[in-house]
């Protein structure tokens, strides 16, 4: 029942919105209430795990409404509800065409929740495709100057991703010996020819690599994130991108474990390259939104590395990183939005002195620094816990990519310092700095997200506790005692065959 309610709440609000008068504050209140209600329910579901639900839907297509919550999906459902609420709260009170806008946001939330709750691969694909519609519309109708080209690019990349995914899932379902089935449990038991499995996983990696995104499939990401309205960018980067990492875990590691080990070194390498590419590009950016977008790309690289390693520790790192990154990136986009709304620009060259105690945006900028430090993996913040798990978990499987990712993570600190020197310090332009300070309602989402980033940093259980069992079950390798790989660093550990497979 709880699971259905989790879907029903956004759906109800979504259906109710067109009936309301087109007044932004009212619509926002309704949407926020729905998101908070959903969040509360998800928290309840965490405390008292609800039973799985299986309802026949289209039996001919083997499509069942199969919903369930496990250690992988629960944190992401929570994250989705939270980021949705924060994105809604970050929406300015004078949002134009508010009914449409909030409906689309809630539709995205609905799709995400459905995707994470799904216990059936076809249902997941359905949700995966469903999300594409509202998100594209949001970018296309509410984005900035180049929204049209950004939306087209977003649509093309993601539609290809969806098609590839559909193909792989269909192929998998048809391979099921006892008749077509798309249930996760059935697909996990498949025994495929290695060649077929390898090709399917290759396509799957392509599909999710487009979504995550990973190098060199990231063409849509910086432009979409920078052209989307702030709340949409929060949702896209904070929650939607997690679909891909989640899918890789479910479908890749869960269903094609042997093929996974075949592709893992490549994935790790691409992850490392993405990480360093993202960090270096973030340093070079002249625009705050693109900077945050590239730093996000870098973190996707870390996810890929940890997924490739597929040790219990690294998979825990994946979940932790998904949550930490979701919180941090949403925080960063939210703050960029505030800065842009006040100063009228996100161009780094035009901003300076924002730490100015009275005429700057010291509160916003202070949180921005904290967010960037969290992204760089400074201890005491969420990013540290996640990155530590990722690095420690991946080290023994892929030492070199891990080292490259470590360097990339260090470069994120360079991003933070450089940005701070330019935007935070220096002289506040007397002529331009004629804005009022941020209001508490504006600060609220950032405060909530920051609190969680700090909470996760000092009490890591909040982002790792969910998933220990689920990730341990998925792991394809076992971790050595932590010091062992350090002592035997010269061993050719990147050869997956040299590592023992878990049962």
């Amino acid at each position: 029942m709880t699971l259905l309610l989790l879907l029903f709440i956004p759906l109800a609000a979504l259906l109710a919105l067109p009936l309301l008068p087109d007044r932004a504050p009212l619509c926002r209140r309704v949407a926020v209430a729905a998101a908070l209600f959903q969040l509360a329910l998800a928290l309840l579901a965490w405390r008292w795990p609800p039973a799985d639900i299986t309802l026949p839907w289209l039996p001919k297509l083997a499509l069942t409404l199969q919903l369930g919550l496990d250690g992988l999906s629960l944190p992401l459902v929570l994250l989705t509800a939270l980021i949705t609420a924060m994105a809604l709260l970050s929406t300015p009170a004078d949002q134009s065409r508010s009914r449409l806008y909030f409906s689309l946001l809630l539709a995205t939330n609905l799709g995400l929740t459905l995707a994470f709750l799904a216990g059936n691969a076809l249902l997941f694909v359905l949700a995966y495709e469903l999300i594409l519609i509202p998100t594209t519309l949001l970018v296309a109708s509410f984005g900035r100057e180049q929204r049209a080209s950004a939306a087209i690019r977003f649509l093309i990349f993601n539609a290809i991703s969806g098609l590839l995914l559909l193909g792989v899932v269909l192929a998998l379902g048809w391979q099921h010996p006892g008749g077509v089935s798309f249930a996760y449990a059935d697909l996990a038991d498949l025994e495929l020819e290695p060649k077929l499995a390898n090709s399917l996983l290759g396509l799957l990696l392509l599909a999710f690599g487009l979504k995550l995104p990973l190098l060199p499939l990231h063409g849509w990401q910086p432009v979409t994130y920078s052209q989307a309205p702030t709340p949409v960018a929060m949702l896209l980067s904070g929650a939607v991108s997690k679909l891909a990492a989640y899918g890789l875990m479910r479908f890749g590691i869960g269903m094609l474990p042997e093929a996974w080990l075949f592709w893992a070194p490549w994935l790790a390498a691409i992850g490392a390259v993405s990480a360093i590419y993202g960090a270096l590009n973030a340093i070079a950016q002249t625009d705050l939104r693109r900077l945050v977008a590239y730093s996000s790309l870098g973190h996707m690289g870390l996810l890929a590395l940890a997924l490739a390693a597929a040790t219990p520790l690294s998979l825990q790192g994946v979940v932790a990183q998904m949550l930490a990154h979701g919180l941090i990136i949403a925080l960063l986009f939210c703050l960029v939005g505030v800065i842009e709304r006040r100063t009228g620009t996100a161009a780094i060259a035009e901003l300076s002195g924002l730490m100015n105690p009275y005429r700057g945006l010291p509160f916003t900028m202070g949180l921005f620094l904290l967010g960037l430090m969290a992204a760089a993996g400074v201890p005491g913040l969420a990013g540290f816990v996640a990155e530590l798990l990722v690095f420690e978990g991946s080290w023994e499987a892929f030492p070199w990519p891990t080292i490259v990712c470590l360097v990339a993570s260090g470069l994120t600190a360079v991003v933070a310092v450089r940005l701070f020197n330019r935007v935070g310090f220096g002289r506040l332009d007397n002529d331009k700095a004629d804005w009022i300070s941020t209001t508490w309602p504006e600060r609220l989402p950032a405060i909530v997200l920051t609190s969680l980033v700090i909470l996760a940093g000092i009490w890591p259980q909040t982002i790792t506790g969910f998933s220990e069992l689920s990730t341990a079950g998925l792991a394809l390798r076992q971790n050595q005692p932590v010091m062992a790989p350090l002592l035997a660093a010269t061993a050719p550990a990147s050869d997956p065959t040299a590592l023992e497979l878990s049962a």
């Binding site: 009275y358 700057g360 220096g426």
Partner: protein, 436 residues
Amino acid sequence: MTPTTIAATDTAAEPLIPPSNHPYADIIHRLEAGGSMLPDSEENLTQIIGIYKAYAVPMDFYWRNLLYIAEQVFLDPLPAFKYFISQEYLDRPNSYSGDQSKLRIWRGGEKAHPELLEFMARGETTAMPKILHHLWHDRVNMEFAEACMQAMFWHQGMGGRFNDYLDSDAYRANADRAILAYFRGNPLMLGLYKLFPEMMLEKVKQLSYYANLGLFWEVMAPVFFEMSDIYEEGGFKGVPDAMNFLVNGIFAVAGRPIYHHVFINGECHEIIPKSEGFTWLYEAALPYVEAVFYRTAPFRGTKSYNAQAGQVPAKQQDFIYGILYADVFPVGSAGIPPTLLMQDMLHFLPAELRELYKQHKRGESDQLIQLGVTFQRSMYNVTSAVIQALRCALLYPLDDTDPTHLLANRQFFEAQMDRFLCPEARLPQIQTADYR
């Protein structure tokens, strides 16, 4: 022909000299008409008079404490309590205010201002022992006064004979006597003096600047109080009136002696005797304006400068970090002199300024900055008074009928305005009302 008739009728009203071509021609013409660099508006008048009042109260503490340090604390090697001014200095009659003063042109009491005493007792927090107020930094920020002193001390040669005297043999001998007397029976410090005589001498020179600035502000505090009183009585009709009051004030005390006396065991040592003939105008006021209004130095903490890239002028006289050029926005950054001063003035802000600040920009939450901009405006007015006073003392009356004289005045004004041609100068901003 018609043109001739027009020319003939125009000659009567024609000014004796052609208009200025200076970029600040408007301001120069205003100065020539007896105005101030600050435009004459009701709000400007309210702002500057209000801030003079808020400035005068802490200044009443600054000058007393500066003299206390120069005369009593002197070379104390551990001057932890130098801001703990003695009752004697707190009650010390102002030489230019109160019934005991020789020159009875400004009213006001002889002792410390009641608002100052009230603040010293309660602070921002509550009544508690002085040491707690001090440690909690809930007190008058004497560090600001010392920063001004340091600016004067560091820039040195800015007219007047004060600084030259500090290098004279007479000064050396006086200082030597005072140092020996101060450290009598203290072999450690006497030994240190033997080893590093110049160090002690340098400290004494600095203390002489404490005295110099203290004596300067002893005059300015009652002047500003008086201006506030006159304004409340409806005495000033506009900004020029306020400026002229300052011009007259400058003349009235121009001849006040500047000296440095030290009291050691109750005995007065004259390090700079009054008989040297140093005057308030030449040895204190003009160097002060030059050092603090124009030059000073970049303070630590808000911006890094690369001297090798020419970001800091090579010559001290080219320094432009004073209040007339200052970027007020960093006010609020911890510990920098502008923050210290604005914080001091905030405690004594008159109600009308509080009201004014509430209506603009970020209201109460950035009043330190609005206060800073007001202060900047008021100091442009003080600088105008200094410029007019110099014009009056060294050049010709504004209503002079000799074109040569008027041209000399014009050149003087233009030369003064040249100092504000650099982009850092806030002169163009204070011409507008929306610079806050």
